[in-house]
Structure formats: C-alpha cells, structure tokens
Symmetry: C2
Subunit: 143 residues, 2 copies
Amino acid sequence: MKPGCQTTTSNTLNARLATGGFRSTAQRQQVYEILQAQRDHPTAEEVFIRAKREMPDISMATVYNCLDALVKCHLIRLVNLDRGATRYCANMEDHAHFYCNLCGRFFDIEPQAVTLALPEGFQVTHTELSMRGSCPECGANHK
Amino acid sequence: MKPGCQTTTSNTLNARLATGGFRSTAQRQQVYEILQAQRDHPTAEEVFIRAKREMPDISMATVYNCLDALVKCHLIRLVNLDRGATRYCANMEDHAHFYCNLCGRFFDIEPQAVTLALPEGFQVTHTELSMRGSCPECGANHK
DNA sequence: TCAATAGTTGGAATAAGTCTAAAGAGTGGT
DNA sequence: ACCACTCTTTAGACTTATTCCAACTATTGA
C-alpha cells in the first residue's frame, strides 16, 4: 500500500467523519477502503466478506453501521436496483447506474444531458436514475 | 359503479390476462380495479387492506399473486423507492416518479426531455427515474 | 489517566416477500 | 350433467435483508 496515498485517503475520511459527528474507527476505515479499492458496487454482505479478510472479528451489524455513517458523511452513496440488496458506491460524482442483465455487473454512466421539465413548485433533493440492459461486452457476445 | 365503464375496463383486463395465459378471476379484477380507482401507488399491503373491504376472505398471498399476474400482463408496473415496500402503479405511460418527503405522496411526472448519452454498445431494456423532494403544496406550506 | 461517550459484537427480532401443499374453481370432452 | 384436468387461492412456514438489543470495548476530552 502506498503510504502517501493512504494518508491522504484517511485524512479525508477522518475529517469528514469528524464533521459528521462520528469517531474514526478501524472498522470505518476498513469499510471505506474496500469501497475505494474495488468500485464494483458491492452489497453489504460483499463488503462484510471482504472486510473479514483483513478483520476476521468484524460483524455484519458493524458493516451496516459503518456504511450508514459513511453515507451520512457523504463519502459513499446507496444504489438500489429493484428489490435486490442495497449496494454501495464510492463514486460521489453525479452519475446514473447501468446494470447488465447478462453479466450482472454495474456500470457508472455520466449523465451528459439529463434535463427533466418538472411541473412548477416541485423541489428536488435527490434523483436516482438506473437502467438495465446489456453492456457492450455481453451485447457483442450474444451476436 | 358505472356499468359501461366497468365493462370496458374488465374487457381490457380479461383480454390481457388471456393473452398472458392467465384466467380472469374475481380477485384479479378486484386488485386491478383498486389500482385503477385510486392512483396513489399503494403498497401490496395497502392493496390488501382495500381489497378486504370488498372481499373479506382475500389473503395477502393472493394479492401478491394477482399483482404479479397484472405486472406480467403489462397492466400495472412496479415502483421501487429506496428500501421501502414495492408500490404498484396503473399508469403505463412512460413516466418518472416523484416522492414528497413531507407528505409522503407519490406523483407521476412526465419526462418531457430526458436524453441520456450512453456510451456506445449499451442496450437499455428498462429505465427507472425517481426523485425525492417537496411537492408544490408542502413547499408552499413550509414558507 | 480516567470517566464519559460512542462504537462494536453476536444473536435475536423484524419486515417484506416467496414458497408449498392442500383445497377450490373453471373448462373441455363425453 | 359428470369427470378429469388444470389453474388459482389459501394459510402458514420459510427466506432474505436489515435493524435492534444488551453487554462489552475503544476513543476522546479534561
């Protein structure tokens, strides 16, 4: 692990946690690093499995707790697709999600031109745009 | 109930059910009428409560079965918002959903100008756009 | 350093939805 | 009209994802 990079990451993390009124703990750092390291939108359970490799005593409740704290500090965000388990995403840029029905992978899509003409008086605080379909790889393989 | 109107509705319903390979049953008609009558995106449980008023013996499992059948026949659609219970919507026009954080009501929003520039090769089969915020009424009351 | 407070743990509890087996209802052939 | 066949409903058990709880542990400010 690059010490310089890690320090930067945990500085940001700790500062954000503190601002949100949360303490910095080893578990929260671990969970955040997992989401930073592999940006494949894992579920809470997948995060738990990965966290266990480094921290065998961590519990599921703690993983949920850490994820909640990170969401509240705007360090990660939730991704919901239909009724499946909630997924977590460390990409805080404005973006939409694309789920490939064939390979099951998630893709982040930049919304270059989304403009929605809302009727007057509606104030939007949160938008979620998600799509399903086939990704370029799977689409090509299917031909 | 207006007999003319009712006949039209149940004709469409029965035809669609038949096309989907489903039989027309009193329970399915009841559930469909509930969703037609009050377009407030009820949850399965809310549908169950409303159905019970007319049909006291109906069970929750039947409500789920009926909703499933109607979804498969493209007569209604699912609406998911975060982790809450699935909601059902009889508006089959292409539209987005707006949830008011203050009054908890759902609004259908016509997507007049949504264009998303997807990277090449992505084939979309299903899109879901949902928003949260405050509706005109609640926004006005808050001032 | 030490109390006060926040966080973690493992297991129990909950909510929403799905599955199953048995009983009930509708339909075509005789 | 009767029977067999199939589809549907029912009640309740089960599953999955998540939250709650009480006891223990770690972190922080004085």
